[in-house]
């Protein structure tokens, strides 16, 4: 970080700066400090508010209760559990992790595809006002989530008093009679779509601008069918954006806590909820650092999703220039 500041320190000309750096190292250091000083409050805040907690997670994830280095926390997370007296003991953290990955996967693929189609339907519309309105709506809906969203779905699709459930039941299509359960895996996925689809629309819409109209005209002049145009031009251009968007949705679905907690009252076994349980003290005494290990595992998965997103975004922006 400090060399960034050095690089950027204002210098009248590169040469003289270089000479003076060689001449007096303390002087250069002083100048760097002076240039960087005004951003110190910000850096200090970030260090205490973000860096320190993160370091604590990484450190304590690998510590036993007595402070010794160990991988035991991760062994607990990964253990499949064992059957004792006919009852499965342990293994809940592994199951939670698998559920989380499954939920994130489902709520990135399905909203990813739906969001792409929706964005295309919006992008090819001929009404400027409609486009503007849907862009604003996507921005708003992508921010929905948490307790409020959960309560909205409980009121509309709840089993007994849900208003929309009643409407559907009146036409003989009560979803609860056909295997739908708002408070289980697919119900949660159904609710997540409410912010994941608009998020995908936001991410993917700029990519459609990269799909130049002239390419389609050129393709059709060369005798390409619609199918061939999409197969050889449209999809290859869109693919990195769609995939990158799905990476981001994956991260969003993987880390969501509030919506799932409020919707299922904490009964769905996914990692964020299990972390919440541990913070509330529901953990065996000899596994005090398990929460850090779970947090660390989440950071690793989320890092992968962010790096995937960033790399693919760079490829996408190539067509937007």
């Amino acid at each position: 970080m400090s060399d960034l500041i050095t690089d950027a320190s204002p210098s009248p000309s590169g040469v003289s700066d270089e000479i003076s750096t060689k001449r007096s190292l303390p002087g250069a250091l002083f100048r760097t400090l002076r240039t960087g000083a005004p951003v110190l409050p910000f850096l200090i805040y970030i260090s205490f508010g973000l860096l320190l907690p993160t370091v604590a997670i990484v450190n304590l994830a690998f510590r036993s209760n007595k402070g010794k280095l160990t991988l035991a926390n991760f062994r607990t997370i990964l253990s499949a559990g064992h059957v004792h007296a006919g009852i499965l003991m342990g293994g809940q953290y592994r199951a939670g992790f698998e559920n989380s990955l499954k939920l994130a996967f489902v709520t990135s693929i399905i909203p990813g595809v739906l969001g792409t189609f929706l964005a295309y339907a919006i992008a090819t519309s001929n009404h400027a006002l409609f486009k503007r309105l849907t862009a604003a709506c996507s921005g708003v809906l992508a921010q929905f989530g948490g307790v409020n969203l959960a309560f909205m779905f409980i009121a509309s699709f709840g089993a007994l008093s849900g208003v929309a459930t009643h409407w559907l039941a009146d036409v003989g299509l009560n979803p609860w009679d056909h295997g739908f359960d708002l408070y289980k895996f697919w119900g949660v996925a159904f609710v997540y779509m409410y912010f994941q689809v608009p998020l995908m629309v936001l991410i993917i819409t700029p990519a459609f601008a990269g799909l130049k109209e002239s390419w389609r005209e050129a393709a059709s002049n060369l005798g390409a069918s619609t199918w061939r145009y999409w197969r050889h031009v449209g999809l290859p251009v869109l693919a990195p954006a769609v995939l990158g968007g799905m990476f981001l949705l994956f991260g969003s679905g993987f880390s969501a806590y509030a919506t799932a907690e409020a919707l299922t009252a904490g009964t769905i076994a996914i990692t964020p909820i299990q972390i919440g349980d541990i913070l509330n003290g529901n953990v065996l005494a000899n596994q005090a650092n398990l929460g850090y290990a779970l947090g660390f595992s989440m950071i690793v998965i989320l890092m992968i999703s962010v790096v995937g997103y960033a790399l693919l975004r760079r490829r996408t922006s190539r067509w937007l220039r």
Binding site: L4, I5, A8, T35, G36, P38, V39, P41, F42, Y45, I46, G49, L50, L52, P53, T54, L114, A121, T124, N126, K131, C137, G139, V140, L141, Q143, G146, N148, L149, M152, F153, A155, S156, G162, V163, A164, W167, M193, Y194, V197, L199, L202, T205, P206, A209, E213, T226, G251, S252, S255, Y257, E261, P272, G276, L279, G295, M298, I299, L302, V306
Partner: protein
């Protein structure tokens, strides 16, 4: 997470409008028309039905007919006003800290060390890598006891959560100004740094500052994870486990919160558009 994307839509949707409309001449376009109608109607149904149904659920009297009576009952619920007051206090303190911390820093970075922006851009990525549920684990591990039992710890954490929003708004706002000229003009007229910031730059950054603070407000009023796990009854926590007799009231407050968020964000988008068109 959506903090990232809210910025993008503001930057890019202008491009979308500049794009020439597709000509409906090609034969395949007819088919797309069909598909488009279906996609749009299904999406509209999915997004409108739950909202409408929940509104109907919460704004009803005991016979199930439409009624505004539940609105008058919100204030009578135990704990509602203390939750509202706690959220308001936290929002205010968070806004003050984040603005005082970020505005001078961002101005300085834009003026003197633009390459430091890359470091600051990283903070817009952080809420994805370290979401609230993970951040609170780490914070709990390092916070001294005297701070842990204070409600202001929440405000201090919310400053971190709000930084990406504030960074994005201010970055866009500062990018649109001719910062150097403004500062040099003010300095040659003899004003000091404080007066430059307060009397020259802040008025020019009004819309960026407004969207930054409104997004912070929406964030604090909607944040559930950290408040719940730290045991503070803010508005979202109250909605979740309020001791009300009538679930309609909780749902009604939730719907009002959603509605409020929507209105506030719409205003920001509209404001942003206005400043866009003024610039071009």
């Amino acid at each position: 997470m959506a903090s990232l994307e809210l910025g993008y839509v503001m930057e890019h949707d202008v491009n979308m409008e500049d794009r020439p409309e597709l000509q409906p001449a090609q034969s395949w376009f007819r088919r797309v028309h069909w598909g488009r109608g279906i996609v749009l109607w299904v999406a509209a149904a999915y997004f409108i039905i739950p909202f409408y149904a929940a509104m109907q659920f919460s704004l009803a009297n005991d016979n199930g007919q439409f009624s505004l009576h539940p609105l008058t009952e919100i204030g009578a619920q135990p704990g509602f006003f203390s939750a509202l007051w706690l959220s308001t206090e936290l929002a205010f303190v968070t806004m003050v800290i984040v603005i005082v911390l970020m505005v001078p820093t961002m101005i300085y970075v834009h003026l003197r060390i633009p390459r430091f922006r890359r470091v600051m851009e990283v903070i817009t990525i952080l809420p994805i890598v370290i979401p609230p549920i993970v951040l609170i684990v780490g914070v709990d591990g390092v916070t001294p006891f005297w701070l842990k039992s204070s409600q202001w710890l929440l405000a201090l954490i919310y400053v971190v959560l709000a930084m990406p929003y504030v960074y994005r708004s201010l970055d866009a706002g500062l990018g649109a100004l001719d910062l150097k000229t403004l500062v040099e003009a003010a300095r040659s007229l003899g004003s000091g740094w404080v007066s430059i910031i307060v009397r020259v730059l802040v008025p020019n950054l009004r819309s960026a500052l407004m969207s930054a603070s409104v997004l912070t407000l929406a964030l604090v009023f909607g944040e559930f994870t950290i408040a719940n796990l730290d045991g503070w009854q803010t508005i979202p926590v109250w909605i979740y486990d309020a001791p009300t007799i009538d679930p309609r009231i909780n749902t009604l407050v939730a719907m009002l919160a959603l509605f409020g968020t929507a209105v506030v964000l719409m205003i920001i988008v509209a404001f942003d558009r206005k400043s866009h068109s003024r610039r071009s």
